[in-house]
Amino acid sequence: MTQQSSTQTWRQWLTTDTPRSRRQARLASAYHGWLTLRSNTLAMVGLAILLALLLIAAFAPFLAPHDPLSQDLGARLLPLWTDGHPLGTDSLGRDILSRLIYGSRITLYIVTLVALIAPIAGLLVGTIAGYTGGIVDAVLMRITDIFLAFPRLVLALAFVAALGAGIENAVLAISLTAWPPYARIARAETLTIRRSDFISAVQLQGAGPLRIITRHIWPLCISSLIVRVTLDMAGVILAAAGLGFLGLGAQPPSPEWGAMISEGRKFILDFWWVAAMPGLAIFTVSLAFNLLGDGLRDVLDPKSGSS
């Protein structure tokens, strides 16, 4: 296989209908998805915002004009566009912009952990229940129902109360409340997939349940889960912010966005920006996740037709 370096032939190599190696087949299919996603402007806006968030979090020490924790009681509650404090300062004189920048790390941390724990737990429970059926299905799904029956934030509150306040526990609590919908989706998908001919065909090759679930059912469930995760991320950020707001998530002086709103609440009538700026940040990131999720649905959802 010879590869020319000019961009024209790279594109041909990626869009070919006759891939010549495993790697090319995989890359070509990914490239095809990227082209579909790229044609969705709003999704690209969402993706750009999230990439920006990622960069901001990575380079926080270089971007932030001040230490997010250093207090200056002489410069409390400065308004927007003050020299040196473009977004003003909070009640302890800390620079809000710097706190937002550092807070993006916490937000990403929460989002990543939840995005890893909840869908994977849901996928496991859902596919096992859906494929095995019978008593296993009944037991797993009733457990799922019990979790679903509680309002999310109330359940998370209960968990945090039991585990103790803190970011890790907040993440754990949110994940524990977030997995049941994923289990539901995964089970529903599994029920339709397991009756299909291609599953019968691997059964006829003597494949066992473990192999069928991991190699044949998961790849088809994962795409709809990814879509659901991106759409849920907004809710996760808000739940984390909610816990922070109630003082059960990140603890002061940590610059978590929800906790920042909670602190700003006391001055909201006279110094609105102290609460509004972190609110705006939460809003922007949640919106970005939703936009991206909508775009990904077009790319990944097998039901909307693959070609």
Binding site: P19, Q205, G206, A207, L220, P302, S306, S307
Partner: protein
């Protein structure tokens, strides 16, 4: 000895009040190297017999024998090295996210072959697909090409019996001709035994020496292909099927 023998086979779905008897007391035998056809309309139970044979339907009674060996409820692994199946709809029988290479590679791997690379290339060649098709996804293949991949998958463990469930009904007639020719060639070169299900009498007559006609779960008649071509069936239902397959006849207007 018959390669494949079925005695008094009944297959049902559901229980008690919801029970549906899909196959009722079916019996037939397929000699080694023969090609046996099952015809009937939808719901006649013809596909259900195939699915029961390979163990996809667990609720059955009666006898099923391969090479004189009685089949039990559970199929041993070696069974699938001997008996394989091609499904009706090539659009549904291939995993949408697996390349041809993955499909065949996994099958060969499951059957414990080691020279997988060479075998994949050989299989693709045997079913008339070049190596260019190896890394394609199903959506990059036409219906006929997909069905060839499905046939290659069924051939991978080198079975001696192939169960064909309407292998061409989802395909265009010109593609159907190619696939039927391929199946005929494979039977000759590999000395395969076929059990073929179809609703198309012309296709079954083309492929099979002996044909069982099914109606509502029962085999109403087993006839040789010559009798079918001569349009001399014993059972009125077979006659009705044969006449309907000849195209539209205004004279039948008074039916009902």
């Amino acid at each position: 000895m018959s390669r494949l023998e079925i005695n008094d086979l009944s297959v049902w779905f559901g229980q008690d009040r919801d029970r549906v008897d899909a196959v009722k007391h079916a019996s037939f035998a397929v000699p080694s190297g023969a090609s046996f056809g099952l015809v009937g309309e939808s719901g006649s139970g013809k596909s259900t017999i195939l699915r029961a044979l390979v163990g996809l339907v667990p609720t059955w009674s009666g006898e099923m024998k391969i090479d004189g060996q009685q089949l039990t409820k559970k199929r041993p692994r070696g069974f699938f090295k001997d008996v394989q199946m091609v499904f009706q709809d090539p659009y549904a029988s291939l995993h949408p996210r697996h390349t041809v290479d993955q499909v065949l590679g996994e099958t060969l791997n499951l059957h414990g072959f080691s020279d997988i690379n060479d075998r994949i290339e050989q299989l693709l060649q045997d079913v008339g697909l070049g190596p260019a098709f190896r890394f394609r996804y199903p959506h990059q293949l036409s219906g006929g090409q997909r069905q060839r991949v499905a046939i290659a998958r069924a051939l991978a463990p080198e079975p001696s019996v192939l169960l064909l469930d309407e292998p061409t009904s989802a395909l265009d007639v010109s593609v159907q001709a190619e696939v039927l020719n391929l199946l005929a060639d494979l039977r000759e070169t590999r000395a395969l035994t076929y059990l073929m299900v179809s609703h198309n009498l012309a296709v079954v007559a083309h492929m099979c020496n002996e044909i069982a006609v099914m109606q509502a779960g029962e085999i109403v008649e087993v006839m040789g292909v010559e009798d079918m071509r001569a349009m001399t069936p014993q059972h009125p239902y077979t006659r009705h099927l044969l006449e309907s397959s000849q195209g539209y006849r205004p004279s039948e207007e008074q039916s009902e």
